[in-house]
């Protein structure tokens, strides 16, 4: 089968098996107010932890302050993700403005990320097509490398340093329409100039502000975001059945706030058109039809590490069954 034919036939599926159209409608309603307040709260928190970090520089208090700042900045991935879908806001220009702001702070180029993430949704957990999929035989070393943020930064540096010069890797061209290539290159050039300008201004003025309040916290915080993101699909079914290949993980109200409800990840994959603020309600309606559910992030990691250490890989092949998960249902 040619790749094109295979891509047309093997796709993630399951929405219509979980919720009917009529029941889905109330969850898809859009509003600007909720996401605006949420965004203001998140940015306010970043400003607060940033101020604390700045005040603590030169003292030992900088350690907890920097950690807190890195954590709230790491969770900016959540609005990056939500806005890439275009669902948190009703008004499109608001969505795109916030998307650009959080992408620039988080350090991901908006357009290529949007296309890559779209690909992840089309081919969720379909090996060879899902760009976010874990290695088939993950070792403890692979796990540590992933958790370190290395994979994230390697991909990002490629995007930031190669795209301005017109080079886009073949694996990224698979999901990027040819007509969007000039936009991606132009966007990468704009971002490079912007980041270069910030670096030049910092050097010229002798200011360490961008380094301590932005670059270092991003480096420190990325492993935390990887910690949360591993739980989304690791140890779930391989194959496109969205009822089985994505995990929702129970967590605290604080994490739900910082993570913009991304912990309801199975509900998000089943119904990507549902705005983040409706996912908790959607979970109440369909959560019992989606498996597995993680009892907590640490327990999910304990399970993943246990499987890795026994060299069992981190995904279940559909034909192999899901004895462990089924037993837990």
């Amino acid at each position: 089968m040619s790749e094109t034919m295979q891509e047309q036939t093997e796709r993630a599926f399951g929405r219509e098996l979980v919720i009917d159209r009529k029941s889905l409608k109330p969850y898809t309603k859009r509003t600007d107010r909720t996401a605006l307040l949420h965004f203001a709260g998140h940015i306010g928190l970043i400003a607060f932890t940033g101020t604390l970090t700045w005040m603590a520089l030169g003292t030992l208090w900088v350690v907890p302050a920097m950690f807190a700042h890195a954590v709230v900045m790491a969770f900016l991935f959540a609005p990056v993700h939500e806005c890439s879908h275009g669902t948190p806001f009703r008004t499109r220009w608001l969505n795109e403005t916030v998307y650009w702001i959080v992408c620039l702070i988080y350090m991901v180029p908006p357009t290529i990320f949007r296309y890559e993430h779209a690909r992840h949704h089309t081919y969720t957990q379909i090996r060879g097509y899902d760009p976010d999929m874990m290695p088939e035989r993950m070792t403890v070393w692979d796990y540590v490398v992933y958790l370190s943020g290395y994979v994230f930064w390697k991909r990002g540096l490629g995007w930031f340093l190669l795209h301005p010069f017109g080079y886009i890797k073949p694996e990224h061209r698979r999901f990027l329409p040819e007509s969007e290539v000039p936009k991606v290159i132009f966007e990468a050039r704009v971002i490079l100039v912007l980041y270069g300008g910030i670096a030049a201004a910092a050097i010229a003025t002798g200011s360490l502000l961008p380094l301590w309040l932005w670059v270092v916290p991003r480096l420190v915080g990325e492993p935390l975001m990887r910690f949360f993101r591993i739980a989304e699909h690791a140890e779930c079914d391989e194959g496109g059945d969205l009822r089985r290949n994505t995990r929702t993980t129970r967590t605290t109200r604080l994490v739900h706030f910082l993570h913009w409800n991304m912990s309801y990840h199975a509900e998000h994959h089943i119904c990507p058109m549902v705005p983040y603020h409706a996912l908790a309600r959607l979970h109440d309606e369909v959560g019992d039809r989606l498996h597995p559910i993680g009892e907590s992030y640490p327990s999910v990691h304990a399970d993943v590490l246990s499987k890795i250490s026994r060299h069992e890989g981190v995904t279940w092949k559909s034909e192999r069954g899901r004895s462990g998960a089924v037993a837990a249902e």
């Binding site: 047309q8 796709r11 929405r15 159209r21 889905l24 409608k25 898809t28 309603k29 859009r30 879908h85 275009g86 669902t87 009703r90 499109r92 357009t111 949007r114 296309y115 779209a118 949704h121 089309t122 329409p177 007509s179 969007e180 119904c271 990507p272 058109m273």
Partner: protein
């Protein structure tokens, strides 16, 4: 059914009452999936599939005259079919509509769209 009138290609699609602001109804008309929606009191009809990855527009939204695909939220102008938001880059077909006796009629002859935009 085919409707009488000035052109034989007018087809009965669905009842006007079945339409709800912001939501899309997809229906098979003469063997083709057609999306019909109501936005700002106006009725629009387009191809029932997104041009990005051929996802049915069933469960999609229409907000301020812009249709949104339910899978990746690619966006199209409901009036012209023009792609107005990534990941959609290619227009979708749009069809003429009219209302008769509480029913929405769709003429499948292409009104516009389907060109790269």
């Amino acid at each position: 059914m085919s409707e009488s009138g000035t052109a034989a290609e007018w087809h009965d699609a669905l009842a006007v009452d079945a339409l709800e602001e912001e939501f899309i109804e997809t229906i098979e008309v003469d063997g083709r999936l057609v999306a019909v929606c109501l936005s700002g009191g106006e009725i629009f009809a387009t191809s029932g599939y997104c041009s990005h990855e051929h996802e049915p527009l069933t469960d999609g939204m229409v907000i301020d005259g812009v249709i949104e695909c339910p899978l990746h939220q690619g966006r199209f102008c409901a009036r012209t079919g023009r792609a107005v938001g990534a990941p959609a880059t290619v227009a979708i077909e749009v069809f003429e509509t009219r209302v008769e006796d509480g029913r929405v009629l769709v003429r499948l002859g292409q009104k516009g769209g389907a060109e790269a935009s």
